[in-house]
């Protein structure tokens, strides 16, 4: 009688087990944000879509979700821009090149780049929102011929808090992107725009509303103002994308922490079409 036998010797994997990965470089971006270049043990690409995230682990400390801020077209490694915000991120900030972290992922639903192929793209990023969209920016620049016009607006609180300064300088010079930045609070050296990111809309040419895909990533207040500008330019809601942030633990649709109304942000998101989110009352602050 099989019922009576101790049959199962099952030793499966765990959904929650991280893979070791090596930090190959650490670059200080601002007082609180570092850029980590990471290589999976054994090499090989992470295999992500722009906009997806990983769970970064320090065993013994914990885990936290971080957007992948490099493009999948850059195969040999991937990058994470990590703000010091609490327990795990504080410990990550103590690490150097050569140290090991654990990686789970890629997780979640990112940008489906084929939906953007052949279209004009407008990206509006505020604050740390530049991190998740940087993977898409790099992707567009690497695969430039697949896209139409490319506009990129980026707002930071102050020049010192502007992330990816090296990229910013390059993007300013790059003819492949119509790039504008602004800061809320300028310092002495700042020569650029001042004001919230919506003020940069005056820099945009007339957009073709049916050929333009708009991507808005930043804090909820910023999102609310920018979405008005975008919809005001008659871009349909289904062509507007955003990325949500929620408390996360499992990252695979089990633990319930990331739930916004009936949506699991770690599974169905973090990237959503605005058209899908409208009905979610909790989605945007």
């Amino acid at each position: 009688m099989p019922l009576i036998e101790r049959t199962s010797m099952y030793r499966g994997d765990s959904l929650y087990e991280p893979r070791p990965a090596e930090i190959t470089a650490v670059e200080k971006l601002t007082a609180d944000e570092n850029l980590y270049t990471i290589r999976l043990d054994g090499g090989g690409p992470l295999g992500h879509d722009p906009g997806q995230f990983v769970q970064v682990s320090l065993v013994g400390i914990g885990e936290c979700p971080i957007s992948i801020c490099s493009s999948p077209t850059r195969l040999e490694h991937f990058q994470l821009c990590i703000r010091r915000a609490g327990e795990v991120t504080e410990h990550i900030h103590r690490l150097d090149a050569g140290d090991t972290v654990g990686i789970r992922g890629p997780l979640g639903h990112g940008f489906q780049v084929h939906e953007l192929h052949g279209k004009d793209v407008l990206i509006v990023a505020g604050g740390l929102g530049i991190a998740p969209v940087r993977s898409l920016i790099q992707y567009i620049l690497d695969e430039r011929s697949r896209f139409g016009a490319f506009h990129l607006l980026y707002g930071a609180r102050s020049p010192a808090e502007m992330l990816f300064q090296t990229d910013v300088i390059r993007w300013r010079e790059n003819k492949d992107v119509n790039f504008h930045t602004t800061v809320d609070r300028p310092d002495e050296q700042w020569r650029g725009h001042t004001g919230v990111v919506t003020t940069l809309f005056q820099e945009l040419p007339k957009l073709d509303p049916h050929e333009t895909m708009a991507i808005i990533v930043g804090p909820p207040v910023m999102f609310k103002f920018v979405v008005l500008e975008v919809l005001g330019r008659r871009i349909p809601q289904k062509n507007v994308y955003c990325s949500l942030e929620r408390r996360m633990k499992c990252g695979v649709g089990k633990c319930g922490h990331c739930q916004a109304n009936n949506v699991y942000v770690c599974l169905e998101g973090p990237v959503f079409r605005y058209g899908e989110l409208k009905a979610l009352r909790e989605a945007i602050g």
Binding site: I4, D13, V59
Partner: protein, 350 residues
């Protein structure tokens, strides 16, 4: 249609057989209340139990559970996943709890199968005991259809009649799985059902229908729609003013499966474990992120979240109801917040 009829005495003998190979868990009385407890002999089980204070969830999804062990060395680390495959028999599971387990099965199997749960579940044998009537006051399992289980058990026993002298119960048995069939038939226990047995079973079911009072007069199928229209009701705030955000409702719920993850380490050895533990959406910090922003700061928004999950969202996502109507949350709440009362109040506002 019945598959077999069996006396309780014989059932308990089979459970004793089963105990050679499986840890046996079932209802045991402690200070006037019943709890699912491991037992070494079947006669310690009280299959006449009214209801167990908590469902048997803890044996499938333990309150804390190791997910993997880790060992740090030479600047890197190794992990070893932990899966518990100890064979288990849960004896005496009422239909509400069978249905609750069905939901857990589904939630842990979909999209990203969770082997920590599924390994235990595959090793679990479930003997259901049907309820001829409500186990206690205030339950609304009849409304939620939690009082009927058609799958999710290995065998289900329907108490058809009771022998007046010895107190033995005659069960009509339905097999839910091949393992359930073997459990009974391998031992050639009981008898094939006679025509009278089938008639008794029909009568049992008719009487059962009548025995469960309707607690949600507007009907449970109206709830998703009702909730959809009640998002901005003042009732959430009015009710949540009494809420202590203690999470007892989550803790006592057989379908709540949200969890937190955390690490424990032996610093000196460089070893440790990543674990999960039950969490509850009614606790204040459940949706709080670094920097202090809380996506459900107000108790009212947390209460609404729980009720929406139970009566709308879980069903929409998983296809299986998130509430079985056992009313354990209502009984657990010191503030006397009652989900069934909320449903009815919302319906009356309309």
């Amino acid at each position: 249609m019945l598959d077999r009829v069996l006396s309780r005495k014989r059932l308990l003998e089979l459970v004793d057989e089963l105990a050679h190979a499986r840890r046996i868990v079932g209802p045991v009385k402690q200070n006037d209340h019943y709890f699912y407890e491991p037992v070494d002999r079947a006669d310690r089980l009280d299959l006449d139990f009214s209801y167990c204070v908590y469902g048997p969830k803890a044996f499938l999804l333990p309150p804390t559970q190791t997910l993997f062990r880790f060992k740090q060395h030479a600047g890197t680390f190794e992990t070893t996943p932990e899966h518990n495959d100890e064979p288990l028999g849960i004896i005496g599971v009422h239909p509400c709890d069978v249905n609750a387990i069905r939901l857990l099965d589904h939630a842990f199997a979909n999209t990203h199968p969770d082997e920590h749960y599924l390994t235990r579940r595959r090793q679990t044998f479930i003997v259901g005991i049907d309820c001829p009537g409500p186990c206690t006051e205030g339950v609304f399992c009849g409304d939620m259809h939690g009082n009927e289980a058609t799958t999710g058990f290995d065998v289900m026993c329907y108490p058809l009649s009771r022998d007046d002298t010895g107190g033995d119960v005659r069960y009509g048995v339905v097999f839910g799985t091949d393992a359930g069939r073997e459990f009974i038939l391998y031992a050639q226990a009981g008898d094939p059902p006679s025509v009278e047995d089938e008639r008794a079973f029909e009568r049992y079911q008719i009487e059962k229908q009548a025995a469960f009072p309707q607690q949600i007069p507007y009907g449970v199928d109206t709830l998703p729609d009702l909730l959809e229209r009640s998002y901005d009701s003042l009732l959430w705030q009015a009710t949540a003013r009494r809420c202590y955000s203690c999470g007892s409702c989550n803790l006592s719920c057989p379908t709540c499966y949200c969890f937190n993850m955390f690490d424990e380490q032996e610093l000196a050895l460089g070893t440790g474990e990543r674990k999960r533990e039950w969490d509850g959406c009614q606790l204040r910090s459940f949706a709080e992120v670094a920097g202090g922003h809380n996506f459900r700061e107000a108790p009212a928004s947390r209460l609404r979240h729980r009720i929406y999950r139970k009566a709308k969202w879980v069903k929409e996502r998983e296809g299986i109801a998130g509430c079985v109507g056992c009313a354990r949350c209502d009984r657990a709440c010191t503030a006397k917040i009652s989900s069934v009362e909320i449903y009815n109040q919302l319906a009356e506002e309309r």
